[in-house]
């Protein structure tokens, strides 16, 4: 069966969408999590509750910090996390000031 998600490192608090999501319910450490709708290929989903200020861990490394409360099953992206180094820009930020 084709995999829909990949958990890259046991310490990661996110998983990555790598295929069509046929069943939005997944089991993580004995708990059932419902995955948010319409998360695109390659994007991340929280598998734990992540508090504002908490680190986002992928591939065992810190890839940024949560800016909002992120519930299990939610999309983790630039709307709820930020870089600890140089801010990520979007075209909207640059041109619709």
């Amino acid at each position: 069966m084709k995999q829909s998600f990949i958990h890259l490192n046991p310490t990661d608090n996110v998983i990555v969408v790598i295929g069509e999501i046929e069943n939005p319910f997944i089991m993580v450490s004995g708990k059932k999590i419902m995955i948010e709708d319409n998360i695109k290929f390659g994007h991340k989903v929280a598998i734990k509750e992540i508090l504002p200020g908490e680190k986002i861990i992928k591939c065992g490394g810190t890839i940024g910090t949560a800016t909002k409360l992120i519930l299990p099953g939610s999309h983790v992206h630039i709307h709820n996390m930020k870089s600890n180094f140089i801010n990520t820009y979007t075209l909207k930020d640059l041109y619709n000031e």
Binding site: V16, I86, Y89
Partner: protein, 397 residues
Amino acid sequence: MFKGYLRSDGRKGIRNNILVVYTVECAHYVAKEIAYPFRKQGVQVIGFGGCYPSKYAEKVLHNLCTHPNTSSALIVSLGCEGFRTSELEEVIRLSGREVSTIVIQQSGGTQSSIGSGMEWIEKQLLKSKGIATVEMKLSDLIIGSICGGSDATTGIVGNPSVGRFSDNFILSGGTAIFEETGEMIGLEKEIMTRGVTPKLSKLLKNSILKAEKYYSAMGHGSFSPGNADGGLTTIEEKSLSSYSKSGNSKISGILKPGIVPSKPGLYLLDVVPDGTPKFGYPNINDSAEIVELISCGCQIILFVTGRGSVVGSAVSPVIKITGNPITYMNMKDDMDINAGKALTGEMTLDDIANEIEAKVIEIAGGEPSASERLGHHEFVLTYKSFQPLGPGCLPFT
């Protein structure tokens, strides 16, 4: 294993290109017109657009004109620019290659410069067929790796498969160069275990800190809107992904553009200028990075893409690897390797690494890569300035 071209400095090339080199933008059109009829016969245009002097641009063009994949070069100058064309001509001649210079202002202008340039190329095409061929093996190659148009697959399968190839290649005595310290921001701790000496590890870390300072001054990191669409969120996430193409081998040294490693091993190319940030972004696009890798002697470039890049390069063939199975299906003609098979479970990362090795041997042996077949020979060279390499950057040379 495959046949290459023996150059008089002992280096071996896998292509026999003739370069037409403009030394200011004003001479670019004439250079393009000279090369155009011969574009499918290994005649390529490279050059520098700026009129003000640049030691960096001169060094890069010196190295490309004497690169093992280059057989001869025609310099096309307007006549009043800051580029020192006579030095370039001398460097090419001393390397044992044929060279000629056309100064447009002294050659009767556009039309007659194009005419005499084409005549010179026709003669060189006949001569270049007689250049001695030589047996080459995989470890004779210097292979550069770069990623561009990255998405989430780049760090999951694309770059990790290049990393595995690179580890095997270095074990067998090859030389590999990876680049882009701007995409190592966030890895300051990780890099401390990678150098062959503690001093080198510290210098590797300093090169990342320099990149962070430089990109901060420019206003944002090496991150494009497409990276975010593809699932990446921050520069440190992109860094983790980018870094995985370096594999697990120890790093033997730091290079700067135009420095050719004299011993096998794995090298980091520091592409971020030294001193106060000036001249804008360190690399304005992927092609500028590819040119710098080739200026360090790379005969082949491995280019990992997720979103789907189409670029090739002048001088050295580019092998395109995508980790995204959807991109592979959408842009099949532009891709050489589908590393997405490791994502769908059809193949392992080691299988893909073996496929990369087989492809490198095939392309080195003369088969065109996808971008070569489609006629891509992009070239970008902008203003930069570097200090010479400091002590400890190349510990064992």
